[in-house]
Structures are given as structure tokens and as C-alpha cells.
Amino acid sequence: MVNLTIDNKKIQAEEGQTLLEVARQNGIGIPTLCHHESLEPSGSCRLCSVEVGEGSRAKVVTSCLYPVAEGLVVKTGSERVMNVRRMVIQLLLARAPESEQLAKMAEGMGIRPEPRFKASEDGNKCILCRLCVRTCEKIVGVSAIGFSSRGPQKDVCTPFHEPSTVCIGCGACSYACPTGQIEMHVSPAGDVRTIWGRDFKMAACKVCGRYFAPEDQLQYISGRTGVPVEELMACSSCR
């Protein structure tokens, strides 16, 4: 067991835990954007920043990655932390002004846009939280989407910005996206799903007839698990 202090509260943690885990277990709220329980922490949004250490040795670190240590003193709401948080949200608001989710989050945190940051006008809501790419790579295992370029030009895309041949149309990336940038469209009949510029033929449940998953996705799951496709042809309600 490791003993540390968070916001003047004495806390016990297990060796190897991160500050974010421990804080949440103890009801201490720390905002996050790029964090997800099923994924390795990315440390890219910096919203979960906290201050550790005291005096001249105090430094700002991301709680999603920083390991607990004996005697550590942590502050989740110091001036430096609040400044970082405010700046991150303001920068993202300027980058993706059309994201309702982001605007709501900012409002909930009491942060207003910084008027001096010229708001982007390209309609792009991506904040490069990396949840979609990480999900596709680690959870789905297909790596259909990835990054291109670097710096402010960095974007999430399919290779060559052309429809991907390996995408299975599962839509996990769209679910993971916190700003609504990744769009998934379904045809009126429900038989075609369109995502990342590609149309996917949907499979119908053999029991209720409802279209529930792309055929490509079922083929992929079959290939990965060895379960024959026919046995996968039932939607979650009818299983």
C-alpha cells in the first residue's frame, strides 16, 4: 500500500496505480477528454493535469499517467492546474467551435472562449484526442484510420484520404469520438452504413430481420475467433 495526500485528504493506494485512478476511486473529480478505461492512457489532452510536489519542486503532471508514490502531495485545483485546464479548453474551443459537446463541457467547467484566438471556420470538430485511432488499433485491431502530418496540420484519416480497404464498418471510432466529428450514416432502409467514405452492406438478423452489423464486421469477427459467420448472424436482442 502507498500513502499519499490529494487535496489535503490522506489517501491509500495500491502500488502501480495512477493518480487519476486513485482520485476517482476516492470521489475526487478530475476532468478528462482523451481518457478511456479500455485504453492505455495517451496523455495528449493534458486536461487531467494536477500539481505534485511542494515549493520549488512542485510540477504539473498528467494524472492519467503519473504513478502513485509514498508521501506524494497532490493538488487537483491549484492555480497552475486551473490555468492549464482553462488554456486547454480555450484552445480546443477555438479549434472546434462547432462541437456542441465541447461547448457544453466548457460551460460546465465555467470556461469561456478566448476571443483573441481566431476561431476555426472549417467546420472540423476533431480535437485530436486520439480515441478513435487508439480504439481502432487496440480494441478492434484493424488500424483502418491513423494520423497524417504533424503539428497543427495533423489530422485523423484513412490512408491517402481514400476509402480504406481494411475498415470493417464497425463504427467503434464514431462511438468513441467525444465531439461528434466522425459521422456514420445509415440508409433509410437500414441496409447500408456509410462511414469514412465507404458503404457497408449490413447483415440482417436471422431471427428478427433487423439490420444490425456490417457483413464485413461479421466476417472479421469470424476470422479472428474461428466462429462460423452463420452463428454470428443474430442481433444482440435475439441472441
Binding site: C45, S49, N83, M87, A94, E114
Partner: protein
């Protein structure tokens, strides 16, 4: 090719044999063909010497050696004539014949090729008398003039690899102790104590352990690492092998910047030679220790100079850094214990082993030991690479060694530490140069780049330049760096274009503080330094741009107008000829004028006028 040396005594014997076969009184021409001199046309001069010597049938009588950078780049192409070590500078192909005829064969000095002090006109004959060299302490870099980087025997002739032999007879812990005593601090910019890093890596759990040489020298204006790697690759190798032995590593990497083809070529040749001679590979010098090195080239990304981004690149991924809450010494390359050091850091190691950690700690200041190689560039007379003990005063570097400001203008500031550093104004010229002192004034040592500026440099434009560089080089992973440097750039561009607003300076300061705290890696956390230091020392320039829409240095295009001083103008029509938009007009022999509506402020007229008649407002 040197065949495999199997023991320390064999090495000693070989060194003695080589030394004995070389007559110190023999005539020799040494010419620098480092990248800087090559750009000056040094290869043509070298070829001309080669041909002349052959033509006259003198190749047995005269030794001819091509070396890497000597450091006095302003004066290249340069040659040294042994045994007297006569120093000739600005040597052209047309001088070659005369040099061979007069100096080599008759021992006559050619006055016009000697270095002359620009102030006193006094001439200096020998290399070690030349003030530029005399005032330095060229412990590490001085060897460059003595070895042909492609010739292992040259390195052995100056006792090369003796430190390795000595180290292999020591215990690893003893070696680490020497390096700790020496207090060798990282020369790449971080200034972290190398000995402590070695110790942590040697104690870390897990195999294999890796030893890496960071040769991704990305700071614009800094080229010490390139010159060491090009000019004395065996020195760097020797340092790495010693380190690997001390740490317990058998696998090493040298990560070289893609834009350094000559360095890549020379280090590869040196590695091949080292393997053949038994300094790399299995059972080195019969010690039982095995170690080998691979060379990887960077892909053109400044961020890959950051250790975790470098690891990502070596692992075949985009160079994105990761959090370093767990040190690389525990989990680095492939999550294994890794010791990464800069080229110059490795190059210092053989000297520490040969002379002892105490000797090394006797040079420099309290907390910055040894010597450092700086690249002194910009508005300076003696542009080049300079090696001095830590603690040397800035004034001495800039004026005594550097020869003062170009065209006799006035010193305004000096930028140290590259894009991660800050500018230092005149009031600090008497400060000692060391890691902590530089940090105190808002800058940093960085890799050792020193850019000198005069009153013709706009500090706001400089901040914009650095911020632009960093925004372009940002990997894009974290919000503060990716978005923050972009917004800082936006504001700075506005200020230089006369669109600055009240409150911009304060906003820059607040953005800077949060980026310093919030960014993921050192590129991001140090990105605000150029902005903060220029605001700290030149706030008035910022205010002039914002409040008065005026650029005091006369640089920012949108804030200046060009005009003609009718008293100085002779009507030579040069400006009219070079003006791309026809804004400069006038009749021959009559005072010209410039139409400020048409003028694009490209600067061509200002550059071409021989009479200083172009006024900048």
C-alpha cells in the same frame, strides 16, 4: 585495414609502431574538408594540392591529409603546413602552386595568406598563435585537425583507443565513479549528469540494455555534433564503447540527422574499421566484453532530438514523445533500460578515463565542469566552432575569440540554446557561461548554439521566427504545444504586421506560462522561452510594434517604408534595375525616389545601394 587487435599490449605495440613510422619533422599539408569548408570550395583546393604534389613527384616527400572541421569556419578554405604548423586561410585554387613551390619546397611564408588581425593588422604565422585558436581550450575539438576521419591509424597515432583499453581493465562501477566525479553533464541541452544516468541504467532491471548516441542535432545554427561526427568519429565510438561496458550494454545505436550525409558516411566507415580492428564486436581487445553499434538516420523532424521521440523513430513509428514519469533509464527503447547521451557528451568520455574524473572536475565552474564547444554564428566576425572551459565570460567569447560584431556594428543580444533557449542582452555580457547561470537569465545552454545579433535584428521578429519554427516542428500530440504555439505565432505575426492589440503581451505571457506547465515534452515546455525572454529584455520593442505600429530595428515589412536620401543618392539607377515592381524610379545621375504604394518592401534596393542612400523608416 587494421587486423584484429586481441589485447591491450597489442594495441600499445601498434600505436607505438605507427608513431615510430611517422617522422614529426616531415612536410605535411593538412586541409579542412568539413561541410563548412566544402561549401567554400575546399574540395577543389584539396584536389588541386593532390594534383600538384603528384605532378611534381612529391608524394613520398610530402604527406597530404584531409580532415574534418577545424572550427575557424569564417576563414575557410584553410591549410596547415607542418612541421612548423604555418596557418594559411582563405586559400584558393590559384594559391596552390605558390604554396607548394614557396612554402613547402623553400620554406618561405606567403604573407597574403596569413591571418591578420582586423583591428591591428598584425599577422600570425603559426596555427597556435592565431588569436582565435590561442584563446580557446580545444581539448576535445582540437583533435579534429590531427586526424583524417577515414584513417584509423591517424587516430591510433594520437593514442586513440587507449582510454578504452584502460577502461576495460577497470570495473564498471569504477568507471561510473570517475564519470560521476567528473560531473560530466549532458551536452545535448538537458545538462543532466551523465554519470548518474549511467548508474541508473546499470542498476535497472531488464535486458537487453541499450546505449544510444543522439546525433539529431536540430538546433538551427548549431553544428558541433556534425563536426565531431564527421571529423573524429572514432572519438565518439570510443566514448560509447566505454559507456556500454560500464553500463552493461551490448547493443548501441547512433541516431544521425538525415541532413548530415557526410557524418553518416564517416561514422559508417569508422564503425567498419573499428569492427575489423576488434574495437567493436565480440570479445573486444580480449576483454570478454562484446558490443556493436547500428547507425539509423532521422527522417527530418526536430522533435526526434527528444529522447522518447527518438526511441519512437527507432521503433519504426512517428516521432511522438511519451510521458517520462518513468525514466528512459528504466524503460526506454522497446521499454528496456536505455542510456541516451549526446555526441559531445560521448566525445568527452575518453578524456575523463585517460586523465581522471578529478582532472576533469578541475576545469570549469562549481556545477558545470569541463569544456564546451559552442557554435558562434550570426552577426559576428569570426563565425565558427569555439571550445572554452565552462565559466568563460560571454564577452570573451563574443569579442576576444569571436572578433566582435560584423561591420563594426553594435551588439544587441545573443541567443543561446536554440529555439528552446532565450536571448541575452548586453547587460549580461560579463556573465560566466554555464548551465545554471544561463538558466537564471531566462535562457539555457542547449546544444551550444550562440547566435549574435546587432541593432538590425528585430527581437519581435526573432520571437516570431522561433515560434514559427517550433509550431512547424511540433509533433501535434498534445494540445498545449500543438494549439498553443500556433496561437502564440498568430499573435506574434499580428504584432509584426502592425495588427497587435493592447493586452497581447499579457496574453502571450499567460499562454507561455500555461504551455510551460502543460506541454508533454521539452519541445513544448521550452517553446515559450524565446517569447518570454524577448519580452523580458525588449518589452519596449513589443510596445513600439503594438502601440506605435513601429519597428525600431527597421525589419518588419508592414511597418517600414523605404525612401531615398536625395543627398546621398548619385543616380546610379541600380535600385531601379533590381526593383521587381518598378517602385524605385529616377533618371540617371539624378536623385531617385521610391513609390511606397508600389513598394513590396522586398529589400532588394537596400541591399544593392552602394551609397547607403536607401532610408528605412
Amino acid at each position: 585495414m587494421t587486423s584484429k587487435i586481441k589485447s591491450f599490449s597489442e594495441l600499445k605495440q601498434l600505436q607505438e609502431k605507427i608513431k615510430a613510422s611517422r617522422d614529426p619533422q616531415k612536410l605535411r599539408i593538412t586541409i579542412c574538408v568539413g561541410t563548412g569548408c566544402l561549401a567554400h570550395g575546399a574540395m577543389n583546393v584539396a584536389d588541386a594540392f593532390s594534383e600538384e604534389i603528384d605532378r611534381r613527384g612529391l608524394s613520398v616527400k610530402i604527406d597530404f591529409r584531409k580532415t574534418g572541421c577545424h572550427g575557424f569556419c569564417e576563414r575557410g578554405p584553410m591549410v596547415i603546413i607542418a612541421p612548423e604548423n604555418i596557418f594559411y586561410q582563405h586559400v584558393a585554387v590559384k594559391d596552390v602552386g605558390e604554396i607548394v613551390e614557396k612554402t613547402l619546397l623553400k620554406g618561405e611564408i606567403i604573407d597574403s595568406l596569413l591571418y591578420a588581425d582586423p583591428q591591428t593588422d598584425e599577422k600570425y604565422v603559426r596555427e597556435d598563435e592565431v588569436p582565435f585558436y590561442k584563446r580557446q581550450t580545444r581539448t576535445v575539438f582540437g583533435m579534429n585537425s590531427k586526424v583524417d576521419p577515414k584513417n584509423l591509424e591517424d587516430y591510433l597515432a594520437v593514442d586513440g583507443y587507449s582510454a578504452l583499453a584502460k577502461a576495460l581493465a577497470m570495473k564498471p562501477a569504477e568507471i561510473i565513479r570517475e564519470v560521476v566525479t567528473a560531473n560530466l553533464r549532458g551536452r545535448g541541452g538537458g545538462g543532466f549528469p551523465a554519470g548518474r544516468k549511467w548508474e541508473e541504467t546499470s542498476k535497472a532491471a531488464g535486458t537487453p540494455k541499450y546505449v544510444i548516441c543522439n546525433a539529431d542535432e536540430g538546433d538551427p545554427g548549431a553544428y558541433m555534433d556534425r563536426s565531431l561526427l564527421e571529423g573524429n568519429p572514432h572519438l565518439v565510438l570510443e566514448g560509447m564503447i566505454i559507456g556500454a561496458y560500464a553500463i552493461g550494454s551490448n547493443e548501441g545505436y547512433i541516431y544521425v540527422r538525415n541532413e548530415y550525409p557526410l557524418a553518416v558516411e564517416n561514422i559508417n566507415i569508422a564503425i567498419k574499421q573499428a569492427r575489423e580492428a576488434g574495437f567493436l564486436g565480440e570479445n573486444i581487445l580480449g576483454s570478454g566484453f562484446s558490443f556493436d553499434i547500428k547507425v539509423n538516420r532521422g527522417g527530418g523532424a526536430f522533435v526526434c532530438g527528444e529522447s522518447s521521440a527518438l526511441f519512437a523513430s527507432l521503433e519504426g513509428r512517428a516521432g511522438e514523445p511519451r510521458a517520462k514519469y518513468v525514466h528512459a533509464t528504466e524503460k526506454g527503447l522497446y521499454d528496456k533500460p536505455t542510456n541516451l547521451n549526446n555526441v559531445e557528451t560521448w566525445a568527452n568520455v575518453p578524456f575523463i578515463i585517460n586523465n581522471g574524473g578529478d582532472w576533469y572536475a578541475g576545469i570549469g565552474t562549481d556545477r558545470s565542469k569541463g569544456t564546451k564547444i559552442f557554435s558562434l554564428v550570426g552577426k559576428i566576425n569570426n563565425t565558427g566552432l569555439v571550445e572554452v572551459p565552462m565559466g568563460t565570460k560571454l564577452r570573451e567569447i563574443v569579442f576576444d575569440i569571436g572578433g566582435g560584431i560584423l561591420n563594426n556594428r553594435k551588439f544587441k543580444a545573443i541567443q543561446t540554446g536554440g529555439p528552446s533557449g532565450g536571448c541575452i542582452p548586453e547587460e549580461y555580457l560579463d556573465m560566466p557561461v554555464d548551465y545554471d547561470e544561463l538558466t537564471k537569465v531566462g535562457s539555457m545552454m542547449g546544444s551550444g548554439g550562440m547566435i549574435v545579433m546587432d541593432e538590425g535584428t528585430c527581437m519581435v521578429d526573432l520571437a516570431r521566427y522561433f515560434t514559427n519554427f517550433l509550431a512547424n516542428e511540433s509533433c501535434g500530440k498534445c494540445v498545449p504545444c500543438r494549439e498553443g504555439t500556433q496561437r502564440m505565432r498568430e499573435i506574434l505575426v499580428d504584432i509584426t504586421e502592425g495588427k497587435g492589440r493592447e493586452g497581447d503581451i499579457e496574453l502571450l505571457e499567460s499562454l507561455a506560462a500555461s504551455i510551460k506547465d502543460g506541454a508533454l515534452c521539452a519541445l513544448g515546455t521550452s517553446a515559450p522561452n524565446p517569447v518570454l525572454s524577448t519580452i523580458r529584455y525588449f518589452r519596449d520593442e513589443y510596445e513600439a510594434h503594438i502601440k506605435e505600429k513601429r519597428c525600431p530595428a527597421g525589419v518588419c515589412k508592414s511597418l517600414i517604408t523605404y525612401g531615398v536620401d536625395s543627398e546621398k543618392c548619385t543616380g546610379c539607377t541600380l535600385c531601379a534595375k533590381v526593383c521587381p515592381v518598378g517602385a524605385a524610379t529616377g533618371e540617371k545621375k539624378k536623385a531617385h525616389k521610391i513609390d511606397s504604394d508600389k513598394c513590396t518592401r522586398c529589400g532588394a534596393c537596400r541591399e544593392s545601394c552602394q551609397f547607403d542612400a536607401i532610408i528605412v523608416r
